[in-house]
């Protein structure tokens, strides 16, 4: 071999090595690079949607007012894992659906692994999907805006009139994006506002104040630190943004909702005033408090590496308080803790006590939509109507088979067996979206949560934030860069690990500005103000 072909051989082999190594990560990278796909690939099916609507305009003699002469199989997609006895329930549902709607349903679950990637692929690949779960945390607003779902307002009166009546009009209005209804919201009213969670028995023992706001909470933590050196006063983990900063701001800074991105600040009581929380006096003061907590030893120095849940340390007694958690999870933690330590007590002070109001869950929080690629939109809607309004369908898919999976005692739900032997636990299909308050059965332990909800009902005010659909396509690159800056420069501040807070904030702000902070904040502000004027929010 002469030198030239030797050189090419070396070059080629190094290319092969490089490409082999890149091939290892290519699968994951491709996932990121194809993220704008919902808007691209669903632009073409948009032409088919009006065609299918006009074709289904012909009524027929079936009970639902739609044509059920052809047998169809509906693909129903839900997040999470499937219960062990799903096939039993599926068979029972299909017996009824065959007879009443001439349709069979296949229940599919995405599992919690890569569910967001799978969700994206289900909507963008044109696969046969007839019903799919939506929520604010599954990016309902952006998917709706980019045309991933069918508008339902024309189909509802025809295919699901009972459902249309059942859901109140203000809920239908609340889920409208760009003037169209894209999802069927769940009607069960619950609150996911946070509240202080703390060991009540320890509070009584050492005569500490009831945590009501940041100042009294800090006093409580001081007391725990002094009197129980073996217990970590505050339970905190690596997600310092979600579990420390956002919650802190919720109780201390009157946020309109959350989490607010890109360091934006908007107060609930002045929703049209958009300011930059990052770099503000407000932020510096908040961070100084957290830094003081870190110094006093309220939580671990290596908090950014802690992977525990917030609740586990409370149930085992390793920690004494959580900065903020919602009523349902608080109740859960309390039950778990008391099953192993019946003499411990867990107290809860909703933030509503200091803020003066609570916001019930926005209708967008749990819903079901019909993707654009569905070929059986009417049958799908009619089936969903049955899931929500027909007691047999609803209770089968929420609780399982009475007698086998659960029993009703004094109007309460009681599980048969325990969590490992039961084949269909309560809401085992993650049926949050098709709950029907009239048919719901609660475990006795849920009474505590209901009591808190009743308390919050008295001070309920509407949720102003969740209806907002952010369109970040024009600043996607800056958005990704800002995320990086936050993780690198703001997280240590959020964890109270930076000694000189002003300097730390200054450095972080410099980096953020370089990453395009001002452009992103301006764009968000414009979109937000357009949203508030459209909805008439003062």
């Amino acid at each position: 071999m002469n030198t030239r072909s030797k050189a090419t051989a070396v070059l080629l082999s190094s290319f092969i090595l490089a490409s082999a190594l890149s091939a290892c990560s290519s699968n994951n990278n491709n996932g990121e690079s194809s993220s704008p796909s919902p808007s691209e690939s669903s632009a073409s099916p948009s032409a088919s949607a009006p065609a299918s609507e006009s074709a289904s305009a012909s009524p027929s003699e079936s009970p639902a007012g739609i044509d059920t002469s052809k047998h169809v199989t509906l693909q129903f997609y839900m997040l999470g894992g499937e219960p062990k006895d799903l096939s039993v329930i599926e068979k029972k549902i299909n017996e009824m659906a065959e007879a009443e709607l001439n349709a069979t349903v296949k229940f599919n679950f995405t599992t919690w692994t890569n569910w967001d990637q799978k969700y994206k692929l289900l909507l963008s690949s044109g696969q046969d999907v007839d019903l799919i779960f939506t929520a604010d945390w599954t990016q309902y607003q952006s998917y709706a805006k980019s045309g991933a779902f069918l508008p339902l307002e024309d189909l509802l009166p025809k295919a699901a009139p009972k459902l249309q009546e059942f859901v109140p009009q203000d809920m239908w209005d609340a889920v409208k994006i760009d003037g169209h209804i894209y999802t069927v919201p769940a009607t069960y009213k619950e609150y996911v506002n946070n509240g202080f969670v703390y060991r009540e028995d320890l509070r009584k023992k050492y005569n500490l104040p009831v945590p009501k706001d940041i100042a009294s909470f800090e006093e409580y933590l001081d007391g725990i630190k002094k009197n129980e050196p073996g217990i970590q006063p505050l339970s905190m983990n690596a997600d310092v943004k979600g579990n420390m900063m956002d919650v802190f701001r919720e109780v201390n800074d009157d946020t309109v909702g959350g989490p607010l991105p890109y360091g934006i600040g908007i107060k609930y009581n002045s929703p049209n005033d958009v300011y930059s929380y990052w770099g503000s006096e407000e932020q510096i003061n908040d961070l100084k408090v957290i830094q003081r907590w870190q110094e006093k030893g309220f939580f671990a120095k290596n908090v950014l590496n802690v992977q525990d849940t917030l609740q586990d340390p409370i149930t085992t007694g390793k920690a004494a308080a959580i900065l903020g958690d919602n009523p349902t999870r608080y109740n859960d933690t309390k039950m778990k803790m008391q099953s192993t330590h019946p003499d411990w007590e867990l107290g809860y002070t909703p933030f509503a006590e200091t803020r003066g109001f609570a916001t019930p869950v926005h209708p967008i929080h749990n819903g079901f939509a019909v993707p654009k690629s569905s070929k059986n939109a009417e049958r799908a809607l009619a089936f969903y109507e049955k899931m929500v309004t027909d007691k047999r369908y609803n209770q089968l898919t929420q609780y399982g088979i009475e007698g086998t999976h659960y029993t009703v005692e004094d109007g309460y739900y009681k599980m048969v067996g325990d969590a490992t032997s039961n084949g269909f636990p309560r809401e085992g299909m993650q049926g949050w979206a098709w709950r029907n308050p009239e048919f719901m059965l609660f475990d006795k332990s849920y009474d505590g949560v209901k009591a808190i909800f009743d308390q919050l009902d008295k001070v309920a005010k509407p949720d102003l934030f969740t209806g907002f659909a952010e369109d970040y396509s024009s600043y996607q690159a800056e958005r990704a860069a800002l995320e990086q800056v936050e993780k690198q420069y703001f997280y240590p501040l959020y964890a109270g690990l930076v000694k000189n807070v002003e300097e730390g904030v200054q450095t972080a702000m410099d980096k953020a500005k370089k990453a395009g902070l001002e452009k992103v904040q301006e764009a968000y502000k414009t979109q937000w103000l357009a949203y508030t004027s459209e909805k008439g929010i003062q």
């Binding site: 999470g80 692994t113 696969q127 956002d246 849940t309 085992t316 903020g324």
Partner: protein, 297 residues
């Protein structure tokens, strides 16, 4: 007979042993922690952390699996089937491809090599690949979708091509042709026997890729009976991670049983244990296969 540089050899031996022992211990310790954690009571892990000897002994991590072993056994079955079938089929196709591509009298070998190599640099992306496998080939919930994508990895094809080129001189295949052997006979009788080390290496790569795969399950399999082993384990861990990630604000509560730390550890052991136990027995075949071509006349 004593050799002069004895003390340096001794020193070298000492250093070498020390380094290797320390590195092996460093690799071993995390695994020992996992074993110990899987036998510890869950509350004690959260409260006291991980220890080499369980602070509070308990078998609760294994309970979940022992009470309902079906999912794990099925996952094992699926992964073993796909690994065995995938490796055999893959080796078959890859050796054929490698053999053809290295034959100097194959006129279009440059073109085909280029096309194969090109796909490693430029892919169609995740969505088109997903659409191909779900919409056009309709392979959702089948064994085929678990085996098919990994059969012809370009890297392994090129690796095989080079192995065969260096192991089988042109003269040998030419002489076989003169003796009247057709291409398949040359492939089967001569090339395969001579490139055993290559086959062993590529086979190992393939087997590992199939054994460790979870991505295909997550995208294309909806039926839990067809989950691969690694996906099943990853799922359990992700359920926990999801709950942690959802944070305080979303109010999402899960009805099902949420596995604890010890179950995570126990699952990891159950999944990796049999392979670890199997490897010492299989090891000598690999070593033998790899060295068999080293000493040649």
């Amino acid at each position: 007979m004593k050799i002069k540089d004895d003390k340096y050899t001794g020193l070298f031996k000492f250093i070498a042993y020390a380094v290797i022992i320390l590195t092996s211990l460093a690799c071993l310790f995390p695994f020992l922690l996992i074993i110990s954690a899987s036998f510890t009571d869950n509350a004690s892990i959260i409260r006291d952390g991980y220890h080499f000897i369980p602070k509070k002994f308990s078998l609760e991590g294994y309970n979940l699996v022992l009470k309902a072993p079906d999912p794990v056994l099925k996952a094992y079955g699926v992964t073993m089937t796909t690994t065995v079938v995938g490796t055999i089929l893959g080796l078959f196709f890859i050796t054929m491809a490698g053999y053809v591509l290295q034959r100097k009298d194959f006129k279009y070998r440059n073109f085909f090599s280029f096309v194969i190599y090109f796909t490693t640099l430029f892919g169609g992306g995740l969505v088109p690949w997903y659409m191909l496998l779900t919409k056009y080939l309709d392979l959702v919930d089948t064994y085929t979708v678990l085996i098919f994508p990994g059969l012809m990895t370009p890297f392994l094809i090129i690796l095989m091509k080079n192995f065969i080129r260096s192991a089988v001189p042109d003269e040998v295949s030419e002489s076989a042709k003169i003796d009247g052997a057709n291409d398949f006979k040359i492939y089967y009788r001569i090339v395969l026997q001579l490139s055993m080390p290559g086959i062993a290496t590529v086979g190992l790569f393939l087997a590992l890729a199939y054994w460790n795969d979870w991505f295909l399950s997550s995208l294309f399999i909806n039926d839990p009976k067809l989950y691969q082993l690694q996906f099943y384990l990853y799922n359990i861990i992700n359920t926990i991670a999801f709950i942690t990630q959802m944070g305080a604000g979303s109010g999402v509560s899960l009805g099902g049983d949420i596995p604890t730390e010890t179950t995570k550890m126990a699952m990891s052991l159950i999944v990796t244990g049999p392979i670890l136990l199997l490897y010492p027995f299989v090891q000598r075949y690999f070593v033998k296969g790899l060295t068999i071509g080293a000493v040649k006349g």
